[in-house]
Symmetry: C2
């Protein structure tokens, strides 16, 4: 006998929670589709040399390699690896199928990714990413950058996770400011941006110390930190930016892009309170080159960002000479679910079956099955109990699985042409004519 | 530069086909949910010693083992493996969570599984299984066996795969017949059943030879083969079975279960032509102990069964002392999709966006974005073109991606308070008042 158990770092849910997870998944997918994005899926494993194009480092250490029994017996090295994100597979997909795709290519992808993490609370070895990107061929107008946060606002409101705020900025602002302060070297700029990204974690004083060490004058560091920590409305901050005596072109472009984003968010009808222009958002990843996004749940800043992304200049430089700029955003659904669960913020599980037809008499199984078919044709989700058992057991089952209505037909009801409808939530049982059963169930279920 | 390519034996689809696949997936899922089944998901990899409980053989040779970079560096043997089906993870799940589940436990699971197959056309290393099972604690009434084929009929009709037939039988019939012919040893019975399962492949003569070699008399072999190849209506075959002078209890139970199944299929409203009682269906797997199902597409018998399953006595004997009988059925979606594609039987791809709002003038982006938000609030899937481009290019894009309607607003239309609606399918363009746009789009789209 083997003790049944799952590998650590993987999430497995009981039916109630799985249905909540599934509902969240569906809401996200519907939200993506409302904006006309098309789904893609890629294989869970890729050829190792295709997946691991980069110089390695942290990410590569966390890769899971895959090998068949045959391969191991023959002493081969693994040539397959599980994807660790959806960005590399997207890059590979777009480069591979470039001639068959229409640009801008608008895809969403909601699949699991894998990381050989150390086992630790909150670290997942298998987790869902819900990624969405718009990818241009040669160019992609910055006008696309407002669409993604507008979509996330709709999705998160429907997920009922409480108040949340999308923080956005544009990396061109900080890069322009640094150039204006004499730090023109791109790599050094990146190092400074990484420090600024730590503001919430280590505080102003330590960040200042770090960026001065990296070569910024104390005055320039103060000015920079004052600007990025300045709170205000989007138009306030835009005005301060426009008032700065800077001629750097990158900076000016960043300001223009932010102004355009603010206007577009308004045109898209995004409530002003849902977004904030926050120049301290720098995103550690060097990958991003323009707009960047982070999403915080107001009541739980300790969760950190639950939905992040931004604009990049070139998606697939490792795979194709074509230049593929894009903008994307990503929800880590497994992590989000886990955080909401731990703070008791999950909504109630939708029921699997809406109606349970109980078995009062096995001789009437044919009656139950025929009724089930009739109700299903009306669009209801219906389960039939067919195991000879006491009614009490069947009612307990309905209670435990969350079925909101039980229909009962015994030989008496059959003779009278009636049915009993038991509302499990109102705890009320009504006898109605058999002919009214669909109407009655729709009433009770509100569908 | 690395050539972008996927690992062999994995399926990756272009957006058009992915949307067809997704629609098929959704139809299957909706069909499962109509019958009140609850979704579960399990991790893609399991602990090796949990997953590989069986004595090995063919299946074990095809397992993919998983190991992190760290594990490889430390010279550890892999302790994780990718699931090769959804049955072993289901057994592990039910045994692990037994106390938290309500029985009968009705779950569906639609996930990918992995097999380290030799690379070969039609052999997939990664493929979707859509499994559905009803699992009882200690017992499960045979009355449940009719529900699964009834559900499959609804699903397959909605998938529009052409005519199909679910063949069913009950292994107790053949076991009883063999006992009646003096072959009472269970293992020998299994060997004979395996030969009978080959009838369609190798023909009557070879099967007869094989089963006579296995110990059946020539007369008994003839009688048996006559019975299993006898074609007729369900009631004809039932009558012949009932008329047989057999007293074997297993046989009698099998006949009763089939009679009950035939009655239940009728009560469930399943069209008579969709199911056939076919005693030659034995399913090679020893796992099944009662009802067995196979589904054939009438126009393509060469596809073999595209949806199979049956009744088993005990799901999780490796993991728990509890006896968990059940009945299940499975659609191999990746294989089915591939077969339908190869025979040009896929339905048309649903569009990603239903409406493309073209950009005639970048200065009107705000107008386009506001209209998009308005249409999305009406439930439409809407894409906005925001890249300054010629109209011709935008129309070509709509054509290539399959967007059925394009909305055009230039400064003239804006001034007049009108919009142009271009029906891409009827190839017709109409100018209408801006206020009528929702109604017009609903008309054109039929939603």
């Amino acid at each position: 006998m083997i003790t049944p158990r799952i590998a650590s770092g993987t999430m497995e849910l009981l039916p109630r929670e799985q249905r909540i997870f599934q509902r969240m998944f569906d809401i996200i997918r519907d939200g993506f589709e409302k904006f006309g994005f098309t789904p893609i899926e890629t294989p869970a494993f890729e050829l190792k040399d295709v997946l691991l194009t980069k110089s390695g480092g942290e990410t590569e250490k966390q890769v899971y390699f895959v090998q068949s029994t045959g391969g191991i017996q023959q002493g081969h090295e693994a040539d397959l690896a599980l994807r660790f994100d959806l960005t590399v597979p997207l890059a590979r997909y777009v480069a591979e199928h470039e001639r068959d795709l229409a640009f801008p290519f608008r895809r969403y992808q909601m699949q699991r990714v894998y990381r050989g993490e150390r086992s630790q609370r909150g670290r997942w070895r298998e987790f869902y990413q819900c990624d969405i990107d718009v990818i241009g061929k040669d160019k992609l107008s910055p006008a696309y950058d407002a669409e993604l946060p507008a979509m996330i606002v709709q999705i998160f409101e429907e997920l009922k996770i409480g108040d949340f705020t999308i923080h956005f900025s544009n990396r061109k602002i900080l890069r322009g400011l640094l150039s204006g302060s004499g730090v023109t070297d791109g790599d050094k700029q990146t190092l400074i941006l990484r420090e600024i990204d730590k503001l919430n974690k280590i505080g102003i004083a330590k960040v200042k110390e770090a960026i001065v060490t990296l070569g910024l004058s104390a005055k320039a560091a103060d000015d920079l930190l004052h600007l990025v920590t300045h709170k205000g409305t989007k138009s306030d901050i835009l005005s301060s930016l426009k008032a700065l005596p800077l001629t750097d072109l990158v900076f000016k472009q960043g300001v223009e892009e932010i102004a355009s984003m603010v206007a577009s968010l308004q045109a898209l009808g995004v409530s002003d309170k849902r977004t904030v222009l926050d120049l301290s958002i720098a995103r550690g990843l060097d990958y991003y080159t323009g707009t960047v996004y982070e999403t915080l749940i107001d009541a739980h800043p300790e969760f950190g960002s639950v939905c992040s992304g931004g604009r990049y200049d070139d998606l697939a430089g490792h795979y194709t000479k074509s230049v593929l700029p894009g903008v994307g955003i990503s929800i880590g659904l497994t992590r989000l679910f886990d955080l909401l669960r731990s703070s008791n913020q999950l909504f109630a599980p939708p029921p699997a079956a809406e109606v349970l037809i109980a078995q009062l008499d096995p001789a009437l199984d044919g009656v139950y099955l025929a009724l089930a078919t009739e109700l299903r044709a009306e669009g209801l989700r219906v389960e039939t109990w067919l195991e000879p058992s006491k009614l009490d057991k069947q009612i307990k089952y309905a209670d435990k699985t969350g079925v909101p209505v039980v229909v009962l037909i015994g030989s008496d009801e059959k003779a009278k042409g009636s049915v009993l409808v038991k509302d499990m939530i109102a705890k009320k049982q009504t006898e109605i004519p058999r002919a009214d059963v669909v109407k009655k169930l729709r009433d009770v279920l509100g569908v």
